[in-house]
Structures are given as C-alpha cells and as structure tokens.
Subunit: 454 residues, 2 copies
C-alpha cells in the first residue's frame, strides 16, 4: 500500500501537467499547482516549452504567480515577460515583493527595465527608483521596506494590534522593529517575545537594545557575515542618521553568501567572477573571464623556460637532471596550492584570524618539512635507481627545499593580502603554482651547480 | 560628540574586562557581559587566559552561560570543562539545548563524554543516548526534540495557549508542528498564521499539509539542501512510521552547509576532508590528509616521465621540443582545472543539472577551441621565433588539441561522477591536471612523430 502510494507521488508531474494543458482543464491544473511549494512550481515552469509556460503561469493566483516569478532565472523571467500583456505585467510587478522587484529591474536589459518602470504607479515608482539608487552589491539593493515597526511606549496588546493590521503585506513578522518619533531604530523585539509577554507590558521593557544594524551603503557580503555570526532571521538597515529604511531577510542573504562562495571557488582556479549563473553564461563571457589567467600563466612558463636557459651549462654537464624537473615543480606547486586553499577558506569562514599567523606559519613549516621529506625520499630513490646517485641527491634535496618554500608562500600570501585589506581569495592555486614553478627552476639548478661545484 | 561616543564604544573590551576582573567587580562585569550578543561573549572568552576565562564564565547567568559555551570551539570547551566543578558542569550540561549537548558529547574525547553522561538525570540521559544513537553526519545528530506540537482539531486560541505554556523551553516557536493522536506529523503552521487567524478557527484549516520533512537517518547535507530550496526556518524530522521525533533549525543547518562547502574547497585542492577546523587541526592530521594526493601525483609524474622515454627517438631527432613540454602540459592542466571547478561548483549549487550535460559540453568545445587557439598561437609564435618553424607548428597544434581534451575532460568528469551517484567534487584540479599531464605528453610527441614522419 505504502509502496503504491509512493509510486503515485513519484509520477512525473510534467506529463500530468502537459495532459491537463492539452485537455484545457484549468481548474485541475490550478489545484495541482497551488498545493506545491514555490520552488517546485518554478522548476516545472522552466522545464516547459514557451507556449505551455505562459498558459501555466496564467493559471497561478496573482500573489503565488509573483512568488514563483521571483524564483525563476533571469532568462526565464525575460522570456515570460515577452509573452505577457501590459496589464498582466503591471499586475505581476505590483505583486512582487519590493526586494524581488529591485532584483528584477537591475538584472533585466535596460530597455526592458525602462518599459517596466512606466507600468508602476507613482508610489511604487518612487520606491523602485530609491532602491535602484543604491550601489550594486550594496545592502540597499537587497533590502525590503516591508517590515512592521512599533513604538517603545506601546503596550504588547497595542503592538499585537499593529502586527495584525499590517502583517498581511509584510515580508516577515518574526522580528519587529522599534523606532522613535523620528523613525530612528531604537531596538528589536521578536514575535515570540510579544506572544509570551503580558498584554499590558511596554515594548520598551521587552525589546533588545541597541539593535544590531547595518548601513544601506555597506557591502552586502557584510550583511551576510553579521547575520551568520549573530544567528539573525532579519537585519535592520539604517541610513547615516540611524533612521530605519528597510530590512534584509535571511533568504536573500543566503543567496548572497552562496554567490560569494562561488566567486571564491572560481578565483581559486583563476577565473574572474562571472556575476551570472554558469548555465546562463555565454561562451564569450566565459572566454573573457578565463583567458586572462591562462595567458598570464603562459607568460610565466615562458619566463621559467628562459630561466632554464641560463643554466644551459649545468644542464649540458648533466642532461638527466631535466627528467625530474616537471616532477619537482609540479609537486611543489600542488603542495603550495593545498596550503593556499586551506588558508583562503579558513580566513573566509573566520576559522583562522589574521592574529593567528605566527602559530599557523610555524605549524606549516613543520608540516612542509615532513611532506617534503617523503616526497624527496621517493624522488631520490627513483632518480638514484634510474639515473645516478648524484642526480638522486640533487633532486631529493631540491624537493625538500621547494616544497618548504611553496607551502610557506601558500600560507603567507593569503595572510598578507588580508592584512592589506585585499581579498585573500586572490591567492589562487594558479598564482601559487606559478611562483612554485619559477622558484623550483632556480632552486633545482642552483643546488645542482653547488653540488657539482660548477 | 558623536565621534567621542564612537571612540568610547570602540574601546577595547578585553582591557576593560581584565581591569574589572583585577578589581573583583563582579556585578559590573556581569552587566557589561550580559548586554553583548552571544557570539561576542564567546570571542572574548577564547581571547582570555585560562584562569580569567573561568572567572568570566562564572559571572554569566546559567542559560546565557550555556548558550555561550555552545558557541565555543571544542578545545576551549574542553579546557573550560576541566576547570569547572562537578556541580557547575552538571548545571551547564542541563542548560544546554539538546542538539548542542549532542554535538558536545560527540566531539569530546570518549572518557570525558562518559564522565559527563554520569552527571545527567535519567530523562536527559535517555535523550542524549537516543540522539547519540543516530549515525554520525545524520540528521538525527543535528535535531532537537524542543518543538511545540499542536493537534489539528484545536482552535487557534487553544493553540495559542499551548504555545504560551510550552514556549519558554522550546528552541523555536516561529514554526509549529501539527501531529495526530499517534504523534505522526500531519502538517505545519507558522506562528504568523496563528497570530493572524481568528481565535475560533481550527488548526486544520490553516496548516500547510503535507509538510516537507526528512528522516532522522538521512545525511545532514540533504536537510541543508531541502531547507535552502524551500526557504525553511526549521525542518521537521520523522522516523520510518512518520512519527515526529525532532526538528532541525536553520542555524545548525547553516553550519553544516558551510562545513560541506569547506570540504568541497579542500577536495578541489586534493585534501581529504579534515572534519575539524583548520585552527584546531594538528600537523599530524594535516599531514595524513594532504600526503595521499601529493604522493599519488608524484607517481603520475613518474609515469609521464616514463612515457616521455618511449619517445626518446623523436626527442633525439629534435631536442628543442622539450623546451615547450612543461608550458604545454601545465597550460592545458590549468584550462582543464578551470572547467572542472566551474562544473563542480555549478552542480553543488544546483545551478547546472545533470540533464544539461549536452548543452554544457557543446559550449565547452567551442570555448576550448577559442582558448586553445590563442594559447596555441602564442606558443607557435614564440617557438617559431626562438627555435624553428617546425617546432612552432608542432607545439601550436598540440596546444589546441590538449586544451580541447583537458577542458572536455574537466567538464565531463563531474557530470559522470554525479550520474554514478558519487560526489562530483572528487573531480579535483589535481586529478584533472594529472590527466592533462599524461595526455599532453602523448599528444605532443605523437603530433611531432606524425609531422616529422618518423
């Protein structure tokens, strides 16, 4: 029984929807859709072909439609907007939450944005222009003015009344904001606290003050860090006078945090931040964001090739040295890239702080010596067996030195960048490996020259 | 005025605290501490020396003390526990939220855990043993039994009564869980909905049903994904019979998501998951988790060195070919690592899905040809100028082919791993670069052999 049930649930909803569309059975379609979570409806929409997609979208009640729309990717939003009538578009835009509306207007092509702005009523237009006035990637672009504000001298039952009166159109009521007569933020209070307090109690007596808040001009990444650190469901946003101008909610911030992490991943592989999803990125954009590092590294390799030529005499005296050169520099590069990756991530999560540098670098020295020793021993063994004892000793000693240097550089660069106030993520693996490359060439042939006494 | 004020706030709280401790002014200390957020108090504690730390911790009210304790790193928790009396420890453990208690007991050394378990009363002991009975990294280890449950046939005002009665000891009341007589989960309802509904309305009429839920035995990563996708503040956890056994809250899941992301970063650089923070990791642990990949790669480089020796005849006929070998294989490795990093991250965030493979691979082919063309052109130019036209043509053609192959492999491996149900993050940069290494050697010398007709 249970099993049968499961199979029924797992029946492909797309097929079912296509059948209902073919039958023009709008009421069943509406019923089937509205009980699903927003994220699932959005997925279904983006899986359908264009004509079906519009039909399905029109089946959704207005507010649900707006929520689903906000969840779609920009390309799907764009294609849907092209199919809707002006009247439908107006209604859609009006039903979007203000922060989703800002996101939509700032992501669409400028001419589409202009057209959409003409569809808004004066009040909404003012709001949209204001939010769009904040710099890109600022907290202002992320916030919504849909919050409930209370006065400190209200009683809990007055507060409850205000919450009931305004809640319907507010994004969250789990946290409420207390402002003075000049609209300055003076505290926050949770719905939980309100519900659990006696009706006659004053808001002032139960609010948390001062409230943790952020300026609308701050970087949105800072909002994400604050909310994570203090486990906040929403963060109040203030202007330079301390006036409450909006709130940022946890769901928007999660998305920001995820985007920032993706950028860190990309930087780690020498890719400039894409700013759009990989699925939506054009081949041209990807080319532009990847080619810079690749060509830069080609130049590094050409340079290290030229350094090799400086040691032509040494090489001529002992050609088999060359056999172990790629092994040496690539292995050191890998070890250094490990160190840099560990450091960059630990600094990003706050796991390691700038003041910890001495302990971390010391541990890295011990660790690098141990790693270099085992790698050097293998190279020494193989080189001694396959070539000669001399090449074995030179390659083995060089391995220990180069692994040590690469690891320390890998750990140090992120620290130095973060001290300078730069993004430690710029200490990408390609940067570290190319430093290891040049260093490896110099160390290897210098050791050889010194050992051979030439 | 404002400026002065700011300076006062920015005065180092550590110095202030040390002064108050020296003066034995416990009441000022208590006042200074209790108005700070939990995360800040925890930071202050870990910055102090051991004797001061215990003194400070004893100033905190019991429940706040437990919250702060839960926020500390394992080493700090451990050192603090050693200083506390049995009575203080008992009170601390009892004041911890059940999920924090489980986390503490599972992270501490076994003998400390055993000692702590003896301090719990029978009811708490049962709860702790139950939560510890779930597999590591399972949802069961993360959940708390502290939720409010309602019955579907209660009215809103009955529900409100129950919430007021039980809320004090519950982790969250923003979401409430509706269960039937057999404790099976039948729906969820938000506090918002309760507050906004008429007092006489039935819970059944306003609850969302069926509720999105998860089994206690599922991987905790799946809980994180579900909550992110559906923007949930808390996720109900059920057993195989659908009985509600606990809830997982957003703050715990955020931590899990961050840990998983860190693991992906580490895998991308060929580091086995650490399971502890980098700050707490010993040099031995780091050695163990880094050395495997490094030695594996040393073997790959030795193998590619042996493949080179197969082409000894070709090299002997044209020695300068060797000059461009490292450039060729390293560049191709970098391009392939870019592709793999983009893919692994896009699959992890759900930005690209397995079914998108055809489009993504096709775009990658176009892109790789463009990247290979410019890189090949540079190598061709330099080689033709510095060595000979023949070496230029061979190196240029090889560059295009090897970049193409590496990029396609970089994109394909994550897809294939994810199709097989494995973790795409295993397609790390070191894996891709070592494949590019061997491939590069074979392609380069084969092209040379074919072009030179030998």
């Amino acid at each position: 029984m249970n099993r049968l049930n499961k199979r029924k649930i797992q029946r492909d909803p797309l097929t079912e929807i296509r059948e209902l569309i073919a039958k023009r059975d709008w009421s069943s379609l509406k019923e089937l859709l509205t009980k699903r979570p927003v994220a699932d409806i959005a997925d279904l929409l983006s899986d359908l072909d264009k004509p079906e997609r519009v039909l399905l979208f029109r089946c959704l009640p207005r507010t649900l439609g707006a929520e689903v729309f906000a969840y779609l990717e920009t390309t799907d939003q764009d294609s849907l907007l092209k199919e809707l009538t002006d009247e439908e578009t107006r209604s859609l835009i009006q039903n979007l939450a203000p922060d989703d509306r800002t996101a939509l207007l700032s992501e669409l092509p400028a001419e589409v944005t202009q057209k959409l702005l003409t569809l808004l009523d004066p009040e909404e237009l003012k709001e949209a222009r204001e939010l769009l006035g904040y710099p890109e990637e600022s907290v202002g672009r992320l916030m919504t003015p849909d919050y409930v504000s209370l006065r400190p001298d209200w009683t809990v039952s007055q507060a409850m009344e205000e919450i009931r009166r305004t809640a319907q159109s507010r994004e969250t009521i789990n946290v409420l904001y207390v402002t003075d007569a000049a609209s300055r933020l003076v505290g926050v209070v949770s719905l939980r606290q309100i519900v659990l307090s006696r009706p006659g109690e004053k808001v002032r007596g139960i609010m948390r003050s001062p409230a943790i808040s952020i300026s609308a001009f701050e970087d949105r990444e800072k909002a994400a860090k604050l909310m994570e650190r203090y486990d906040l469901l929403a963060l109040p946003v203030v202007d330079s006078q301390g006036v409450l101008v909006g709130i940022v909610t946890a769901d928007d911030v999660l998305e920001v945090a995820q985007e920032e992490t993706t950028e860190d991943f990309h930087k780690g592989a020498g890719i400039s931040p894409l700013k759009v999803s990989l699925k939506e990125a054009t081949a041209q954009l990807l080319y532009k964001n990847r080619v810079t590092w690749l060509l830069g590294l080609v130049l590094v390799y050409l340079l290290s090739g030229n350094i090799i030529s400086l040691f032509e005499g040494t090489i001529a005296k002992m050609v088999p040295l060359v056999f172990f050169l790629p092994l040496l520099i690539d292995s050191a590069g890998n070890a250094g890239a490990q160190s840099a990756t560990l450091m960059v991530r630990a600094l990003a999560t706050g796991d390691v702080k700038a003041r910890d540098w001495a302990r971390v670098v010391l541990r890295e020295v011990a660790l690098a010596l141990a790693l270099g020793a085992i790698m050097g021993a293998i190279v020494w063994g193989v080189a001694a067996l396959q070539v000669s004892a001399q090449v074995g000793i030179i390659a083995g000693i060089s391995m220990v030195l180069v692994v040590l240097a690469s690891c320390v550089i890998g750990v140090a660069i992120p620290f130095i960048l973060s001290k300078l106030g730069w993004d430690p993520a710029a200490a990408s693996s390609p940067l570290v490996t190319s430093v290891a490359d040049i260093l490896g060439v110099i160390v290897y042939f210098s050791v050889a020259r010194w050992w051979l006494g030439i």
